[in-house]
Symmetry: C5
Subunit: 307 residues, 5 copies
């Protein structure tokens, strides 16, 4: 077993109440891959097939229909962890046992639904039998079903912690009073990240915030207190601050497919703002393997401060 | 006990996370009957009485009012398995113990209901006491109740797997935003099959897809990526691909009663597209026994590549 | 203990999956009273007070306010079993212990409600502590709450069977798309009986069907297949056929109070159509004791083939 | 331990299915206080604060803000039992342990709600740890939530009985199709009492019925059968009859504050009609202690047949 | 361990039914800090981030983004306890173990929701593993979801008591028929406090009441009984009276940010009216640390009767 790096020990020290099992699993992720020990993370999530269907997810790079492709890509790219719904993990759990930490995504939505909810599709028991390091769960702050989603993850999280697993929360504001713009507004994004921390998440995943402010009551505070949200770097810092001033790990999703320059700039802002890393799905698996590996290599080098 | 055939071993190797109990039950089905060892399946489902009532189901061939008739037919035709709701299995479980693998259909709908839901009518405990090899469950992707259905099968599946049973999911898009045409559209069918795999099904049952595309966002991808869905064989291949690129067994329902030629052509397309088999109810039990046996014999020969 | 009659053994052989406890309790009912051993049943149900209130139920014969009256009547008339809600059984369970098999009605509705649902008011545990031979449960196929009712009885039935109790299902189509006429239509009644069997009931209770056909899709089948439903006897036969071709016991309710001739004719039709018996409440306890005993005597003689 | 009086033994004999624990607790109540052994009961309920708020309940006699006041009053007046919600019993459970039987009111409503439901606020476990003799529970026959209320008390009652507690049901028709007048109509009141018995209550509490008849179908029966409901005494008798012809204890609430003469006349009618007693809250604790004791003394003497 | 002061013993004597564990935890809070032993309490609650978002809560004093800041402030100011949601307590539970009693806030709402409900986000098990002295829970008397909230805390409270924890209820009238003014009206506030006591709370938290009366039926009583509610002191007394005449601890929230003079006057009224203390969040952590410590020092001195 490798010695746990100082930067990782520093991060783990923020998780005061967790048992050695959970801390060990956080360490497994933080010490794995090319970013291991740096305090930065790069995670591959593949739940797109559930959300958008197989063709929209994998037709651009048909190798992705096979779950092994993603496992192997995450291993070969030296990523920190691989996150996916139950069936996809089941399909490679043995072949890739021990090869990369896995995160079992425990709920999912689909494009055939119009309500802002998700179905619970896996349990802590599933995560344990599959040897996962963590469970993942999406909440939709703002939606009509948000309190039920929060109660579901609260129950799962308590169980996960008792069994030594880590808890990753996708906190995606959506529905209810929220406009499309509001979903990624600065105040709403920081709020979503903060709530995930209060619920007890170890790792929070949010979208990179825009400079919009959605809630009127928040606008006043952002104005009066002159909170700096002028550029993405400062906005990332504000999200990190909202995550218990850095005591919780926060990673940012890659969002819709964009060009490489756009991706790299976003990653630099995350790095410079103090974010802990990226979790990039579509932008990875919808390129062919060679291009994906090249892109991930560049992102890793950015997080390593080399680029 | 017969040695498990190479083709079956290959299929079983896709189920990396399952215990020997579940793999054994999948093998029981795959090694049974005249298609045993071929990697192909032919299953008799008799849940029509619940869905449409007894007269609409059995009056054309009144022998079918008796559960033993179906058990015996499945045995005599050399089928792979017999699937039915609780009461029907209970009525023959002892007489036909060991004669054919059974699949307990654990939920059902009826024609007196207007909402797109099903009632859970049997449990994993029932399946175990009846000696079944698998549980079966219907989900309606798209319906208002789809997330509850998905959560129900997720819970049942975890329990079934822990007891060494296999899980068969009927994935039938229905309700919500879906038009009648959309229910069997290519994109929706592949999506439904993929979701069943992600939920953790061992065997997926879908309807043969048409060449329609329902979701606008999907249309673009099918056009841009030039996905071949021109004929049923290529559409079947696309469904197989959507089932983890063939790592999961997918079988196709027979649909409404049609002429023999239509049935045989469909079976050939399933075979040539790489599908794992057929699950044919009405077209079987609504013919008289002699005709049904003859039809099943032909289908088996097609799957054997003899016709 | 009396030897179990051949006719009863034949009936019990249909219950292939049940444990000796459940078969024993079915035998207790089938071997009890003046019809014991004949394969026919006559059951006294007294849940009218819950459904219509005490005065509407018992004022015509005020002795019926006392639960002991019904127990004693069922004993003195030589009936097969006595069915009632929890409180009524509790009030005589000790005085009449061993005197007659009892069926605990586990759900009930009342006339102050406008929705087509019932409240669960007793459990399998209650049935066991009261020494009952079976639980009883009403479902309303067609109602907005039908799937919940079905799920409730499915759970109760599994538990009851595991403890060696028998399960009696009152299958009364009601609500939703059903017209008043549809509730007792031939197709709907046979459908209701068939569903109760598929759910796993040992004994099904339905109302005698009329010659109406409610569902359009069913009308075509009844016409095309020339199903004989011209008279009550043939309609009863069709219901018996829909109960797994006679592998399940089906009894018929007496319906609204009518004259004796009407009752006797109905019983003859049930007998001649192959039905297993009657379950007659109001027509029994709303007459004075002497008349009720006389009526029950006649019904028993009809079932014995003497009248 | 006092010998159980003959009249009490007679009453207890109606509870055929109960274990010695429950019978003992019923005996505790029936043998306690000045009416002990008479078969009559006088109970002090103090749940008014939950239903109407503290000022509306206790301002007329501010001593009543203190839970000990009510305990002491019940003891000093020689009542049969004291009934209250969880917090109020907790506040005196130790000081008055053994001094008077207590009934834990397990659900409550408040005046800030507009739906006809109650919240469950205490459990059988609470009753046991507080040394209560019984649990109390309100159902609202007729309300939209009535079936849920009935299911809640059914579950609580089964559990209470298994632990040797008695079950008291407040059966208060309300909501749904019921008019204000209908809530206390003769037919509805008798129906409510009967349902509580069928659900398995040991003691039923209803309001004294008026001579109104609410349900049309009932009107015909009351007319045709010439049921005597002309005066309160005969109406009480009809309620007693509806409680399994006297096999269940039925007590009557005092209703809104009224003058002493009105109260005494009502009590005489309850006594003469065969009712088992009174449960009087507001009329007790909203008078000052001296007046309350005097009133309770008179009521007791009426039940003793002295006045 | 310090000897428990006489005033605290007096308060504890009101909790007659609690086990030594719960009494010990109440004593821990009542004996802690500068008010220890005085029977008065000053609690720091930090759940604002969940209710209003991080920037609106902490931007005025950015040190507050860090959970340790609040723990340390509560310790340094000599407060009685620190209350916060799960994640915030988890982030300091080890560093501050034993330094100050903690209260785990088990449910929370957010500003993105429009319904008057809260999500349960922590459990009794969480409180135990974090070494908390009590759980905290908000109910919204009057809201459409009030009965569910009440049932949730009832269940949590029973469990908490069985494990020796204390129970603090935030009773905040809101929603349903309540106007904005009604939420803090005298009658509604006293009602809310009384209900929390009846549910079984050990400590009740309400807002200081205004002199408005909301419910018509209450207006009459307040007029007729000439209840003194002219000034805040008398209104506090009326709330104390409504809490079982002082047998339950009641503390008052600080409400919206106001000037120091306003705060101190309110605290004097609470003290003089017999209230047990204050629970002040925003007014504490939105000032800088020096000002906050100064303010808390003054409040403590007021409660000590020195100012």
């Amino acid at each position: 077993m490798p010695k746990v790096a100082q930067r990782v020990k520093k991060i783990l020290s923020g998780y005061e109440s967790d048992n050695p099992g959970t801390k060990g699993n956080l360490a497994r992720i933080l010490m794995h891959g090319r970013l291991g020990g740096s305090g930065k993370l790069l995670i591959l999530p593949v739940d797109q097939g559930f959300e958008h269907g197989p063709a929209r997810s994998f037709a651009p790079n048909p190798a992705g229909y096979d779950p092994h492709y993603h496992y192997q890509l995450a291993v070969d790219a030296g990523l920190s962890a691989f996150a996916a719904p139950l069936g996809m993990l089941e399909a490679g759990a043995d072949s890739f046992a021990g090869a990369i930490p896995t995160i079992l995504k425990c709920n999912s939505a689909n494009s055939l639904s119009s309500n802002k909810d998700q179905a619970v599709t896996a349990t802590v028991g599933d995560a344990l039998r599959l040897g996962c390091a963590a469970i993942g769960f999406t909440i939709y702050p703002g939606s009509e079903d948000q309190y039920e989603l929060i109660e579901e993850i609260s129950e799962l999280a308590e169980e996960a912690k008792s069994f030594g697993l880590a808890v990753v929360v996708w906190s995606y504001p959506r529905g209810g009073m929220l406009s499309r713009e509001g979903e990624t507004a600065m105040d709403v994004c920081a709020y979503a990240a903060h709530m995930a921390c209060l619920i007890g998440a170890h790792v929070v995943k949010v979208k990179p915030p825009t400079e919009a402010i959605f809630l009127e009551a928040a606008q006043k505070v952002y104005d009066n207190q002159k909170i700096d949200i002028a550029n993405l770097t400062s906005r990332i810092s504000h999200v990190v601050q909202s995550c218990f001033n850095g005591r919780r790990i926060v990673v940012f999703s890659g969002g819709e497919a964009k060009d490489l320059k756009g991706i790299y700039n976003e990653v630099r802002a995350i790095r410079d703002g103090g974010g802990n890393g990226s979790i990039i799905g579509r932008n990875t698996f919808q390129r062919d393997r060679k291009d994906a590996l090249s892109m991930l290599d560049t992102i890793i080098q950015i997080y390593q401060g080399k680029l």
